[in-house]
């Protein structure tokens, strides 16, 4: 658990946190969309472009070798961080959406009409649409694992949906709209009993939890650097080796080939098979730096602090008459999605913005969840370890002021 002084020191690592917005100190509570970047990561980016910017893997010259080493070291950092056996099981992608598309696209060669794939009711659109496209292509059937009012997946219904036709199961580790932490290990075990592969979208979990992929047993896992104190445009796909070998490549191009003739091309080994073209070298290196930064604080401490802070802010918010929180799962963290009776989330969000408070409003790319609760959207405040209890109080006071103005 982080102490007050520790959080103050951490805040000093993030230059953006001393920005003013509309004449007031920035209060940043849109961390589930993008987290802020510490000096250690910014410096890594500056250092890369100042000292060793080069194309990797093919160059014989010094800069190329330095860049290649740094890129591969970042991969090893991720490997170790996520408890993965081999570095080539970590594929660098442009982010979670790209990662999911690699798997969905590859699976189209392995699925046939009548196969079933399961997707949870609390998914981000990027973990729904690629599978719908896959079903259209293959004739496989998409089925939905339902959730209850609290925003928890119905494991009984999930169990009933699983059968020998089930080939894949997809769900998020933590819901971006509700903050629910799903029981990954248990759900993976259930899927494996019928021989189905499991992809877990870890975009929201990787910034908040210690994630050991070997222990969780997942077949695929995705994460995005920009939600973990890293830059945008870089993320990762983890895959079990047998799956990554089985999946056909996603894109053709440089870097992903072993040999090319006009008769036939043989593909490169992992991970390069899935990294066609020049990768986001600087992004990958900075992703590694971001993970190292978070580990220097400790993800267990980060997670415990964020959970307490989220609980504190939730309790305070609930003192506002008519305020309802969506997503009240027993196991949840970091995200508070709410509405105030009779008020539109856009109105509250716009007024908070005038007060220098950054929250997100809308359907959070998870329209099925909004349909489930029959609401147009919510206001979402999402916390990070650099947010403070004083900021939680300022959010509550801001919401109260907005409500007073609007009612």
């Amino acid at each position: 658990m982080l102490k007050k002084e520790e959080v103050e020191n951490i805040r000093a690592d993030f230059p953006i946190l001393s920005e003013q917005v509309k004449g007031q100190p920035l209060l940043y509570l849109d961390n589930a969309a993008t987290s802020q970047t510490p000096t250690a990561v910014i410096d890594t980016i500056v250092d890369y472009y100042s000292r060793y910017n080069a194309n990797i893997h093919r160059g014989v010259h010094h800069l190329s070798q330095t860049a290649t080493d740094a890129f591969e070291e970042a991969r090893a950092t991720l490997q170790e961080h996520f408890g993965v056996d081999k570095p080539h099981q970590i594929i660098f992608t442009s982010g979670t959406t790209h990662s999911i598309n690699i798997v969905a696209s590859g699976m189209s060669a392995l699925l046939k009409s009548g196969d079933e794939i399961l997707v949870s009711a609390m998914e981000h659109h990027s973990n729904i649409v690629p599978w719908q496209m896959l079903c259209e292509k293959t004739g496989a059937v998409l089925k939905v694992i339902p959730m209850n009012e609290a925003g928890e997946l119905d494991l009984k219904a999930y169990s009933a949906l699983l059968n020998e036709r089930t080939k894949m199961v997809f769900f998020n580790h933590i819901s971006n709209a509700l903050g629910t932490v799903n029981p990954v290990a248990q759900m993976v075990e259930m899927a494996h009993r019928v021989g189905a592969a499991v992809l877990v979208d870890g975009a929201q979990a990787a910034p908040h939890l210690v994630v050991n992929l070997k222990e969780l047993g997942v077949d695929f896992y995705t994460a995005s650097a920009h939600k973990m104190c890293g830059p945008t445009g870089i993320g990762m796909l983890y895959g079990k080796e047998e799956w990554l070998l089985k999946l056909p490549p996603y894109q053709g191009g440089g870097e992903m080939i072993a040999e090319v003739t006009f008769d036939k091309t043989t593909y490169a080994d992992l991970p390069h098979k899935f990294e066609a073209g020049t990768p986001n070298v600087c992004g990958g290196i900075a992703f590694g730096a971001a993970v190292k930064y978070m580990n220097s604080i400790g993800l267990d401490k980060i997670g415990a602090y964020e959970e307490e802070l989220t609980r504190y802010a939730s309790e305070k918010l609930l003192e506002i008459p008519g305020l309802k929180i969506y997503g009240t799962a027993e196991n949840k963290t970091s995200v508070i999605s709410f509405n105030v009776e009779g008020l539109h989330p856009y109105d509250i969000g716009s007024l908070l913005d005038q007060m220098g408070i950054a929250v997100r409003t809308g359907h959070h790319c998870a329209q099925p969840i909004m349909d489930f609760y029959r609401i147009p959207g919510t206001v979402r405040a999402s916390f990070s370890f650099y947010n403070t209890y004083e900021e939680a109080d300022r959010l509550v006071a801001g919401v109260q002021r907005a409500v007073n103005m609007l009612q």
């Binding site: 539109h344 716009s350 005038q354 147009p376």
Partner: protein, 141 residues
Amino acid sequence: MKAISDIQEEIIDEFMLFEDWMQRYEYIIDLGKSLPLIDEAHKTENNLIKGCQSKVWVHADMEEDKLHFTADSEAILTKGIIAILIRVFSGQPPQAIVDASTDFIDQIGLKEHLSATRANGLVSMIKQMKLYAVAFQSQRQ
């Protein structure tokens, strides 16, 4: 009948009276709350404006050569903004609406104080009101 440009001047003057944007927002909220109710029958899919993040309906009627707008939205701030647009355009001849400049939006600083999605919505609302004017104008000719 006041000219559109005169009404716009009045609105610019009113906005200048406020010290900060919170006060301006309060004013917009009051305008939103006092926007006359639209006939429920006009809250149709056809009258829904595309490009707004909250649902917005705008309906137009022609009476004695003047165009009259009614509107509604789920969000109060959006209603307040429509109320301003209705004050500018409602009760004007279609040609005057088609020809009207909308620089006053920039002059009161409304656009820069709206989120990008809302600013797009504002542009869509103005476009829709002008389209109504064009449509009624061409009906008359």
